[in-house]
Each structure stands twice: as C-alpha cells, then as structure tokens.
C-alpha cells in the first residue's frame, strides 16, 4: 500500500507498461551485437539523452521557482557553433580539436545561461519573460551562425558522442547518466539541494536567513544553459549536421512535462531528480511506442495526450481519493449532503 502511494509509482508503472509493449512489437528488445547493446531499449535510452539533460537543468531551475524556455534555442546555437567550427577543421577526425570545439560550444551555452540568470536575478525580470527573449532571439542567432543552411560534418569522434558505445553502452546515455549522478551528488550530498529548495520556497526569507539567493538563482540558469548546450551537441552529432531550424524545437515543453511527471512542483521549493529521469525516459518511450504500434500520424498527439492526462490524474491526490476511495468515503459524503 505504501509503495502505491509513492509519488513515482504510477509514472514507473506506465514506463514499464510502455517497455512491455515494445518487448512485443520489437524484433529485438535488447541483445548484444558487434560487441555493443542493440535493440529497442538501448535505442530509447540513447534517444532520451538530450531530453534527459535538458530536463535535468530544467528541474534545478524549476526548483528555485523559475523556468527556462530558452533551452531549445541554446541547443540550436551550441550545435551550430560546433558544426561550423568542426567543418573548418583540416582533419575533422582529430580528437583533441573536436573536444576543444565542444568545450567552446558548451562555454558559449554557459554564457547564454549566465545572460538568463542575470536577467532574472540581477535585473529582476520574471523568468518566463527573461528566458522567452533568448528562446525567440536564440534561434535567430543559430540561423545567423549557419546562414540558414544545414551544416554537415564528417567527424567520427563528434558522431561518437551520440552514436558511439563505451563498454557496449551508448555513450550518449552514459553522458546523460553522468550528469544525473553528478547533480544528485552535488544536491543531495551537500547543502546545495537544501539551498535550492529554500530559494524556491521563498527567495526573500532565504536571503534574510543568510543564503546568497541571487547567486544560487544565477547558478541554476548557468547550469541549465550548459546542459542544454551538451544536449545540443548530442542532437547535432546524432544527425552529423547542425539543423538550426529544428534542433531542440519545442523541447522546452517536453522538458517541463518530464519535470512535472517526475513530481517536481512548478511553484518551486521541491524537486525530484529521479522523477525527472523517469519522466524523460517515459516521454522518449512514448514516442517510440507510438511509431512501433503504428498509431496513425493524425492521432499521435491525441494518443500522447491521453497517456499524459492519465498520468497527471494518477498523481493528483484529490482525484485518487475521489475514484479509489469512493466506497470508503461514501457514508461520510452522504452524511454531509443533508447538512
């Protein structure tokens, strides 16, 4: 009974259900081929990496009561910068140069995050407006960088971050998990998590209690920008090209959804990284299932909506009490009616 009451019980059940469906529709669910994992499960995990990274940053931002709408644009800029620089390399397969370029792209993303954080914490613009600026303008910047064209690269070390394997596990998923583990350690093994929740609960009270609320707020936007930049690299490496028009398009909404599915409150003050991980993988699994089952294109969005609605209802205590606690509570309800 207690496990059913756990916040992540229903999202986990739906995730497992989706995976079970894929077990039946897929030729190979999980197997080892050419020395690495192959099948629909590794595909889902690999495909969920960009969303997982973006949602991780979003979780921290939302924990402080903010929101970051610019993540998709940051992804586009990061991929565009990286591909443009790699394309001009004499030897695109030079590992050192590619790593340096990736660092440059992530550095640029951190700066974009700093811009967001400054607007929110120093200038005092509402987060939704502050990040909306970069959401709209950032995609324009990315298109300017690529001159509106799709930029192709032929760099195997770059492609490896999305499609390669390390110890037979997809590298993209390992990167995402490493980011998750690092974040968990930093927020749950140090006081940082507590400070985040405190700022999310009440920035003013936190400041009066001696917490540098402004610094914490700037930091989460910087982290969110950096993670979005990393996601942008994986996205563009996956297709070996920078597509500044569609890279990360609408991913901010999927990321917010993943965070909400994971049980983090949008008003801030409470967050669950494990929940976000389940949420992000669930969204990716849902996308794969839609194609695998053969839901017609026109009905895809409706199908997804039905699942998400069911999920949100299952997380609402009021709804659960009304439906599942009906028989128990009925006498009490009828007793109250005459009054």
């Amino acid at each position: 009974m207690t496990i059913i009451k756990h916040r992540l019980f229903w999202p986990s059940v739906i995730l497992v259900a989706l995976l079970v469906v894929n077990m039946f529709t897929a030729n190979q669910f999980i197997t080892v081929r050419d020395g690495h994992l192959f099948g629909v499960l590794p595909d889902i995990l690999r495909g969920s990496a960009p969303l997982l990274l973006v949602a991780l940053g979003m979780t921290l931002v939302i924990a402080t009561g903010g929101i970051d709408l610019s993540v998709g644009a940051v992804m586009a800029i990061s991929g565009a910068v990286a591909c443009l620089l790699i394309k001009d390399l004499g030897n695109q397969n030079a590992v050192g140069s590619v790593l340096l370029i990736m660092a440059v792209a992530i550095g640029a993303s951190l700066l974009l995050g700093l811009w967001n954080g400054t607007l929110v914490a120093v200038v005092g613009i509402q987060p939704i407006i502050a990040t909306l600026i970069l959401m709209v303008a950032g995609r324009g910047v990315a298109q300017l960088v690529t001159d509106g064209q799709i930029i192709n690269v032929q760099s195997s070390p770059y492609a490896a971050i999305a499609t390669g394997h390390f110890l037979s596990v997809p590298i993209a998923f390992l990167i995402a998990i490493a980011a998750v583990v690092l974040t968990v350690l930093l927020t749950r093994r140090t006081a940082l998590g507590l400070l985040l929740e405190s700022v999310g609960g009440s920035p003013t009270a936190s400041r009066l209690a001696g917490i540098r609320a402004r610094r914490i707020t700037i930091m989460v936007y910087v982290v969110s920008g950096g993670l979005a930049g990393l996601a942008g690299l994986i996205y563009s490496a996956n297709i070996k090209s920078a597509d500044s028009i569609s890279a990360g398009n609408l991913i901010e909404l999927d990321a917010i959804l993943a965070v909400v599915i994971g049980g983090t409150a949008l008003i801030g003050g409470r967050f669950s990284i494990a929940g976000t991980v389940i949420g992000a993988i669930l969204i990716q699994a849902l996308q794969v299932t839609v194609v695998a089952v053969g839901v017609p294109s026109k009905a895809t969005l409706l199908f997804k909506a039905v699942i998400v609605v069911a999920l949100c209802l299952s997380q609402s205590t009021t709804f659960r009490q009304k439906v599942f606690g009906r028989f128990k509570s009925r006498p009490a309800v009828t007793a109250e009616v005459p009054a």
Binding site: D43, Q143, I239, Q287
Partner: protein, 327 residues
Amino acid sequence: MLKRLSVAMVGAVLLSSALAGCGGGDDSSSGSGSDDKIVLGFSQVGAESGWRTANTKSIQDSAKAAGIELKFADAQGKQENQITAIRSFITQKVDVIAFSPVVTSGWDAVLKEAKDAGIPVILTDRSVDSQDTSLYVSFLGSDFVEEGKKAGQWLVDQYKGKTGTVNIVELQGTTGAAPAIDRQKGFADTIASDPNLKVVKSQTGDFTRAQGKTVMETFLQSTPKIDVLYAHNDDMGLGAIEAIEAAGKKPGTDIKIITVDAVKDGMTALSEGKINYIVECSPLLGPQLMDIVKQVKSGGTPEKRILTKETTFTQEQAKTELPNRQY
C-alpha cells in the same frame, strides 16, 4: 496657442502635398522614362530553409537577368506582414504582384484590393483557398500529388513482373501540410496498381533529419522486413540513412530509398548510391515567373495553373547533375 497649432497644421498639409507631388512626379517619370522596365512586387514566406533561400535567390537573379525591377519583401513567416507588404505594393502602384502565401486562407480582402487597383497577382509555390479564382491570374508551383505519383511509378517499374510482397515504410512530412498530404496520396494511388507493393508503416518525421532518424530506428526495430523507404523529403531520408547504417544494413542496397526535393545533400547521397531515386521539387522558379510577368504585362493571359519545370534523378543522373546543384 490655437494660432500656433493652426500654423503648424497648414505647414503639415503643405508639406504632405509637396511630398505627394514629389511622389507623383517620381511615378510618372519612372513610367515614361523607362516604359519597358516592369516593376514586380514579391512577398516571400521567409527564410526558413535552404530550399526557400534558393527560391529567393532564383527570383532575385532572374528578375535582374530579365530587366525587371524587383521590390522584395520578406514576411518572416507571418501572414500580417505579407498583407502589409501587398498593400504597400498596391499604394506604390507596382505593375505585377507575386507572392508565396504563408497560409492558404484569409487572402480574399487584400487580393480584392489588388484587383480593384488593376494590379494582376501571381501565386508562387503555394496556393490560396479563395473561392473566387479571378482574384489571381496564375498559380506557378509544383504539383505535390504528381511528385508522389512519380515516386510511386518508379517503384512500380522496379518491381514489375516480380513476385513476393514488397514491404514499404513511409516517412511523412509535417502532419496536415499540403506537401505531406499530397505526396502520400499520389504515391498510394500509383502503387495500388501492384498488389505486391504494401505500405506496412507510415509515420510523420516532421520533414527533419533528427525525426527521420528516430522514426526509422523504430521502424527497423518493429518491422520484420523492410524493402523500401519512401521519404517525403531529402532531409528525413538522410536521417533515415544514418539509422539504417547504425542497424548494420546498407542503404540503397538492403533497403531501397526514394525521396523528394533533390537538394544538394540529397543528390550527394544519391550519387553515392545511398538513395536510389529522387523526385525533384525545384525552388528555381524565377525564370518561369519572369516569363509570366512579361506575358501578363503585355496583355496576355497565362494558364491558370503552371507547373514548375521539374524532373527526376536516378543515381547515374545525379552524378552528372551534382556539380551544377546550387542549393
């Protein structure tokens, strides 16, 4: 105070009439000074893709070559910008207006204004859904159903006289977009003539590489045997090639690939043997547009529906055509 205001108003009136006079004089001088110089007002959708950029460049270059003065306005994907641009073309009294509508509906009022002003309107690339077809003189653009049919016909010819089922998967364009609906329809109608050809999976890939790759990955995982991939544009096809290679199959050999568009990246893959056949959807409609503009200006009536000059490419043809691809 009142006096000063009235002086200012008189001044303003005088100034505006002087400006109007100036503008009028300018108009007449350009009219009489260069009688053969036609003025064309063109409102473009935006610069959302490489295809669109090539489209814009073609129109600008061919206007210059044809000696037509082009007034170019970029609508940045917004209908209201486009309506503003067309209104400004009407007040500027251009000779001909041409535009690629951002959306299909809501054009009747502004097109009526152009008609009342006696300025002929030509639609390019995309159509409008106005009931009154007298609002425009001609629609120049690709026939997406025809593109689907060409793709289907190649497949029918490939498998003519062969037995055994051919499993086809389809990557559709953005759900609800005209090219996606029509390319699907034309293809389906044509392959219906051969009962062996079966579309086993069909899903949207949103015209993007990343979605094309993701959806193809799942197709490969959930379909026992795929013989043919039909993608509604090159980009989705290119994404799918990545997925096919990652699954250890050879694109173009193990799975035959047909796409639409023929942009440079697609043509490169075709010449490398990774794609088998591309149906062209050409953005280079500038020269044809200029011909229609001249025809309209000299009092002729062009056909109501003019198709863009387009072809299809096999792997061999791609090798010869590739060096000339501009986009």
